[in-house]
Symmetry: C2
Subunit: 337 residues, 2 copies
DNA sequence: CTGTTAGCGCCTTCAA
DNA sequence: TTGAAGGCGCTAACAG
């Protein structure tokens, strides 16, 4: 049984004043005689009075709450994004209401409505992968609720977003591989239709172009390819790939396995760079070089954008790409090697 | 600028009736002429009316919101707990308000107050590791807000909890090692003062006892020991350990490294079992056997307890230990080996 | 069947 | 300096 919390009127009655007076005394706003103010404040403290934010919300039409929609929390990446967001919002005194979309558009739509119904002051969202409908997003914008997209965006949505700079991330990785002398660099692409897949592939190509290395089709594989394993084997063995850049760290592990099978040593004969800096990367042998996307910073930055937009609705439409960091570990030869 | 949402009174005015009538029509409760009901419903739909839950909260003194306090989200374990909780609460139509304690008691206290202020209908919490003060927890209970502890509990707190059965988990692992014929089983303990460390150690000892194997002090190490690496080397080399059970998967990886260094083959000469079933376990070579704690189920179960308690304040004080699952992978010899 | 009244807890005029 | 009144959006009790 939930106990009744003590309210402003309880204090007022006890002190034979009106609720208005108590309110003024507690909020410092109006003028209250110093004596009464002290009386009220001390009684409030004694009784453990805590204002009811719900009543205030009703009045002020704001909830001090931010809604968050993420596809899932299980991947390290999103849990770091969440941590970054949480650190900023809690610092700013906002609550965080979370929803999961499970990469399912219907759930995303449902979550959006839930958050809108809850009258959150703003929404942070990672739209699900296969997003073809945007009415729910439009609805958010129509409602005047500030919205910031995280990690993924769509050109059809005119709202601030914070994404990772996949192009640069991929470029920096492949550029490094070229610099240490790799000539035959394998790339395993990610899932189709994802802008990240596309951008990382672009970064790969651009780095090769910079170093005047031709892009060989046989060295570019698709992670969804049922014959992926055989093809990797072919690239490592017959094509003598001396470098590999993969869409994810997990794909890099596949390369590890096949390299071991083919007795190809990493990094002496093959330098490998993955993507995402999964915690695993430091635990496998040799430790994996990878591209860190700074997900915590991404979350924090998007939360800051949102808070700005909430507090100043005229704030400019910001959009940014968070820089990636190339993390070099044992899986790559050294620059001077 | 947040747009004014359309309210029950807007509809009432447009239709020349009173808000009460609209309320009744929409909630099906009282009697309203079928004609008016249809009019009202259709206008509400047309205008995109959605009830304001804040107003309802104020009235009903419930928010349909559950508060969650976790130490952090970054570890796979907690992100799975969170996922489990989320799946249950969202299914039940509750919102989830989340706070982080960062294993810091002051932050935990602050979060607790925040949630209490927010008038959540119930709280799920993993109390921080070093917990010596329980006033804030007591305050939650005094307030009548249902509380369920997750993953960790204290005997000083009389409230339902859901924790993992560390004893059984450890027992099952070491029992298996004994069954496949290991005689010298190394154990690396977790951080001091943690009940999980203690319970897993107990499980280890009990399994040895069952198989009439003596517990050798030299084979029990502490993860915090600065000389841990040397000691492991001594156990594997000089003491010819043929089995290892570690407090965490990460500690198991340390064993992997040293076994490789000492040219000890896993699983032929040494069988290893970790704890937690980190995603990494399936990516290292050989894949790691481990104890899965079913964190998702743990989260789901605790959320269910909480919902029960919310809906029936007289519900019995439930407490349970979630069963663990021994996951056998390549790092252990087979039973018939 | 429908309107009136009152109130959830708080704050903000407006009067006194 | 303080009190009274009104209202945020909604519902419930009571009239009519």
């Amino acid at each position: 049984m939930k106990k009744k919390r003590i309210s402003i009127t309880d204090i007022a009655q006890a002190l034979q004043v009106t609720p208005s007076t108590v309110s003024r005394a507690l909020n410092g706003g109006g003028k209250v005689s110093e004596k009464k103010r002290q009386e009220i404040i001390s009684l409030a403290k004694k009784l453990g009075y805590r204002p009811n934010p719900i009543a205030k919300s009703l009045l002020e039409n704001r909830t001090n709450t931010i809604g968050l929609i993420l596809p899932e929390f299980t991947h390290h990446f999103y849990s770091r994004v969440l941590a970054g967001i949480e650190s900023v919002t809690s610092q700013a005194g906002y609550q965080l209401l979370i929803c999961t979309s499970n990469e399912n558009q219907n759930q995303e739509i449902k979550s959006t409505l839930t958050l809108l119904d809850a009258r959150v002051d703003g929404i942070l969202a990672t739209i699900s992968k296969m997003n073809d409908k945007f009415e729910h997003i439009q609805e958010v914008m129509d409602s005047g609720t500030p919205l910031v997209l995280v990690d993924r965006f769509s050109e059809e949505i005119e709202t601030p977003y914070v994404i990772s700079d996949d192009f640069k991330g991929a470029f920096s990785a492949v550029d490094y591989l070229c610099q240490i002398g790799c000539k035959n660099i394998l790339h395993i692409k990610g899932p189709d239709n994802l802008s990240t897949t596309f951008n990382r592939f672009m970064g790969y190509k651009e780095a090769l172009r910079k170093h005047e290395i031709e892009v060989k089709e046989e060295l570019v594989l698709e992670s969804s390819d049922p014959k992926l394993v055989e093809k990797i084997r072919f690239c490592l063995g017959d094509l003598h790939a001396d470098g590999a850049f993969t869409y994810s760290d997990y794909l890099a592990f596949e390369i590890y396995k096949l390299a071991a099978e083919l007795k190809i040593t990493i990094p002496e004969e093959l330098s490998v760079i993955g993507y995402a800096d999964e915690p695993i990367s430091t635990y496998i042998n040799p430790t994996l070089s990878t591209v860190n996307q700074q997900p915590f910073e991404m979350g924090a930055m998007s939360a800051n954008y949102l808070l700005n937009k909430i507090n100043d609705s005229a704030s400019p439409l910001e959009a940014s790409r968070v820089d990636t960091k190339l993390i070099l570990r044992e899986s790559c030869r050294k620059m001077d090697g």
